[in-house]
């Protein structure tokens, strides 16, 4: 137990644990709270005008066994009408180990030419490196994260959505701030079948859901959107803006090596044999994959460095590429993941959780830009109990990322 966080956790004073509040305090505080007038609900959509929750995700549509080995997951679009399960795209997986490097393509039984994982990644590297290099006053990103929950006492699944926008200054110093705005977009039934079950349950505007690992915890998700919560924070040490195995500034990111071997060596200087979020052991390649996924997904690196990152991934053993997949926004792309359960330690909801997740990055082969990162259920358990293998349990979709001279509206 060498991780400082683990040691701190163990040193929590006992009285700060989960002891019940004494009855007198409870009565006094509740009385005081309820003596106050309640505020009227602010701008809410009129009841009659509530848009029907649209199915956003297809779940577990791929054959379970195939999905476990290939992590090929069917996701349907948000285009208003969800494709039926039979037309959902399941994707085709290829892996570095299956396809020898000497043969960049092979003909599959169905007649389609399959490219090796390495070839696909090298092509993406080439495209990524060819993108124009721009900078500006702010690195601006907009993303939507989605997480699946099972409804409490009913047989359907909902997807909860949150939009996050952030501005990172290229300037440094004690006066600089990183700005963010986040907004809950509400929960909705995950598939047409789930929507039918939700209607059968009376189409509740607040959906009670199962909270794994917490005895008696109640959680209900509003179906409507919440307010935008704005925040700002000074840059740690006056210039650090991202975590890439260690804390880095915009200048550090732009000065990263653009040669794959040198980039790998630079990243590995922060590798200590354990995961990025815990002290659980994590292999070198799994760790590199996790950190590199973050770099490609939302960091302001030069096109050459993004290209080098793809080249480095192409050189890792156990890399798997799945073409023809769709992200949660319905955009077509290609997924890359790495074999090995420890690659997904950060998706675990709780200690003792025996479920296995796998992290994958979906990118656009034409530009080498990231579309989304997803955690896919390999073995259900914990927060993913009752979900089919192959289900995308949560995802962060990048809607925008780029430089701009326009800062956040104050």
């Amino acid at each position: 137990m060498n991780d400082p966080i683990d040691r701190l956790r163990a040193a929590r004073p006992a009285h700060l644990g989960d002891t019940p509040v004494d009855e007198r305090t409870r009565a006094a505080e509740l009385t005081r709270a309820m003596a106050q007038p309640r505020q009227e609900r602010r701008t809410r959509r009129a009841p009659g005008r509530r848009t029907i929750a649209r199915p956003a995700w297809g779940l577990g549509l791929a054959g379970a066994a195939a999905a476990v080995t290939a992590v090929a997951v069917a996701v349907t679009g948000t285009g208003g009408t969800a494709p039926s399960p039979s037309t959902a795209r399941t994707g085709q997986a290829v892996s570095a180990s299956e396809s020898p490097e000497s043969s960049p393509g092979r003909t599959a039984p169905d007649g389609q030419v399959r490219l090796s994982a390495r070839t696909v990644l090298l092509a993406a590297a080439h495209r990524a490196a060819g993108q124009p290099d721009e900078t500006g006053a702010w690195w601006h990103t907009v993303s939507v994260s989605r997480t699946l929950f099972r409804a409490e006492g009913a047989d359907y699944t909902v997807v909860d959505r949150q939009r996050t926008e952030s501005w990172t200054p290229s300037a440094t110093g004690p006066d600089q701030r990183q700005h963010s705005g986040s907004q809950s977009l509400g929960a909705q039934p995950a598939t047409p079948e789930d929507e039918a079950a939700w209607r059968e349950a009376g189409a509740p505007a607040e959906i009670p859901v199962v909270v794994p690992g917490k005895k008696g915890a109640k959680l209900s998700l509003p179906t409507g959107p919440g307010e935008v919560q704005k925040g700002q924070a000074p840059l740690p040490d006056g210039d650090k803006v991202f975590w890439l195995g260690r804390n880095v500034s915009v200048r550090d990111l732009r000065a990263l090596p653009s040669e794959p071997g040198a980039l790998k060596a630079w990243l590995l200087r922060s590798y200590k044999g354990h995961g990025t979020e815990s002290s659980a052991p994590m292999s070198r390649d799994a760790w590199l994959f996790t950190v590199t996924t973050g770099l490609i997904a939302d960091m302001p690196v030069t096109p050459e460095v993004r290209g080098a990152a793809f080249r480095m991934l192409a050189g890792l053993a156990s890399i798997e590429v799945t073409r023809d997949v769709t992200d949660a926004e319905g955009r077509a792309g290609t997924a890359v993941t790495i074999d090995g359960p420890e690659a997904s330690a950060m998706g675990k909801a709780a200690a003792g959780d025996d479920g296995v997740l796998r992290t994958r990055l979906i990118f656009d082969e034409e530009t080498g830009r990231a579309l989304a990162t997803e955690n896919v259920v390999v073995r259900p358990g914990g927060a993913q109990a009752g979900m089919e293998p192959g289900t995308v349990w949560n995802s962060d979709v990048t809607l925008e990322s780029g430089w701009t001279d326009d800062g956040p509206a104050s």
Binding site: Q39, L221, E227
Partner: protein, 171 residues
């Protein structure tokens, strides 16, 4: 919501500003939650911790928070010390004392982040919501805080007077 979250909100406030002010801050937090019940999202805990954080900032000055936390920490250490006399768990107690003393050395911002993750068990996603920053920013700050905590645990002797007082009490 009250029964589910009250003690965790209380624990958060205690770990920031001590027991003296905790009941008042918690009481005000739930009064605000009641007034704005329509706005309280689910899960409520991160939202409530965010409200408690604002109440704390608006009602207790930074200097007073530091002093109150120092007093709280001495109480924890005294309570942990009692353990030594009661049972033969000296190693464990020494470890706890070392960790708490290291925590006391950190700036308030670092302490808050570490407590949200280690003691409140929040995910980076939820903890970022409490603080009002993006997940990416939170990871950067968590990384720095964790490093500082690690350093403080390795080098327990500190030149800073506040901590010197503390180590006197430890001896």
């Amino acid at each position: 919501m009250y029964d589910e979250c009250r003690q965790r909100v209380w624990a958060y406030v205690v770990s920031r500003a001590g027991r003296q002010v905790a009941d008042e801050v918690v009481s005000e937090t739930f009064a605000i939650a009641w007034r704005r019940l329509e706005d309280v999202p689910e899960p409520a805990l991160p939202w409530l911790l965010g409200v408690a954080r604002n109440v704390l900032r608006d009602t207790v000055r930074a200097e007073a928070r530091r002093e109150a936390f120092g007093a709280e920490l001495r109480a924890w250490i005294a309570a942990t010390g009692d353990g030594v006399r009661r049972a033969d768990v000296a190693d464990e107690v020494t470890e706890r004392l070392g960790v708490l003393a290291a925590l006391a050395e950190l700036p308030e911002d670092d302490r808050e982040i570490l407590v949200l993750v280690a003691w409140q068990g929040l995910s980076p996603r939820d903890a970022a919501r409490v603080i009002g920053c993006s997940q990416a920013t939170f990871r950067v700050r968590l990384h720095r805080a964790r490093k500082r905590l690690g350093r403080a645990m390795e080098n327990p002797v500190s030149p800073r007077p506040r901590v010197r007082n503390l180590s006197e009490e430890l001896s």
